[in-house]
Symmetry: C2
Subunit: 218 residues, 2 copies
């Protein structure tokens, strides 16, 4: 019974996701879904990314959190269009759904956008199962989380199209081996591009910015 209902929920989500994808395509907006554990540095990576690509790539952000507007406030300071979703009104949902994105996207001026980045809820498990109508999926892993996480949470790395290995500035103080982390990602998803970088020092951003710009065609 539970499995049947879960299947129905996922099917309804998939159908709304396809509508979202068509809506974004009709408006010439490329959509990236950014996922990770809490505290891996999604928001800081995004803030630095926005600084580097705007105004050339006109970017909007939909940011999901269970509570608070902390991330939206940080992102808005970059000048980007930002919409915050708080899932505490949906029972503290552990992922963003296609319905939430549909509603939030209507608060954005899509004519003024080339790129929409969705910063998902901090969770390395559940968001991997919910298509929100994106074009590509990025996963962010922090070196502080340890190199074995791709093996322990493989689905997220399998559904991702690209990975960022963040906080490499901390490597001298950790036992984590960055090459092992990259190798483990490639083990669960052969051929996936992986960009080691530091959102704090901005080291390593150029290949990531090139990848993202190529997605948008700018």
């Amino acid at each position: 019974m539970e499995i049947k209902i879960q299947k129905k929920v996922l099917e309804a989500n998939e159908s709304q996701a396809e509508k979202n994808r068509k809506y974004f395509k009709d408006n010439n907006v490329f959509v990236l879904n950014m996922m990770s554990s809490p505290g891996s540095g999604k928001t800081e990576t995004l803030c630095k990314t926005l600084k580097m690509i705007m105004p050339k790539i006109r970017t909007g952000v939909i940011v999901g959190d269970i509570c608070t507007r902390n991330d939206a406030d940080r992102l808005e300071a970059t000048g980007a269009q930002v919409v915050q979703i708080n899932t505490d009104q949906f029972g503290g949902d552990c992922h963003l759904s296609a319905n939430m994105i549909d509603k939030a996207a209507r608060e954005l001026d899509l004519d003024g956008l080339d790129l929409l980045i969705v910063e998902n809820i901090g969770n390395l498990v559940c968001p991997a199962e919910f298509d929100i109508g994106e074009n590509e999926r990025a996963v962010v892993l922090s070196v502080t989380e340890g190199e074995d996480k791709p093996l322990k949470y493989p689905l997220m790395f399998q559904v991702a199209d690209v990975a960022i290995l963040n906080k490499i500035d901390l490597l001298p103080y950790l036992d984590c081996n960055a090459q092992d982390a990259v190798d483990n990602m490639k083990k669960v998803h052969p051929g996936m591009p992986v960009f080691p970088l530091s959102a704090k020092t901005e080291e390593g951003f150029i290949p990531w910015i090139k990848w993202l710009s190529a997605c948008v065609g700018k």
Copy 2:
């Protein structure tokens, strides 16, 4: 419909959790449910904890992961009884349920145990909603995750009875303010004991070990 089924799932879980609690009580085993994001250092904290409390407190561990036996292998090296649960056989579940604990506990020799620690799936959201029949709940937050996480993921910190603020050895290299992290935990859960420590250097373990020993009455 979905909400009704979710309620039914939670009710069934609650009923099994009560059975587990009675079973553990009848066997004089105190149960601690340990939860956190992926990579906050639950396993390393546990390895060091086991080293300090065993054999005085005879301890077993049930460890949950979606995939791999990595954590179980590390924990078994301490000499503790360890049972690994992999949720990939349950569709990659994002939390441990009371049913899984019931099954795993029957693989343990409870007569030889004073304390059972359950290391939950790395997820700061979903495990907070699932009672597994524990006596107390501990949440581990790493300073690398940032001081705002208790405000963004409040339920986990509200249901926890105790919190560990881990990886304090990294504070000199981070922008995180440890006192703000503690204050934010106390804001969402006034009066909750919080133990800042480093599983790597073993700094700060004494108050945590005292708290845990008092729980077991040893």
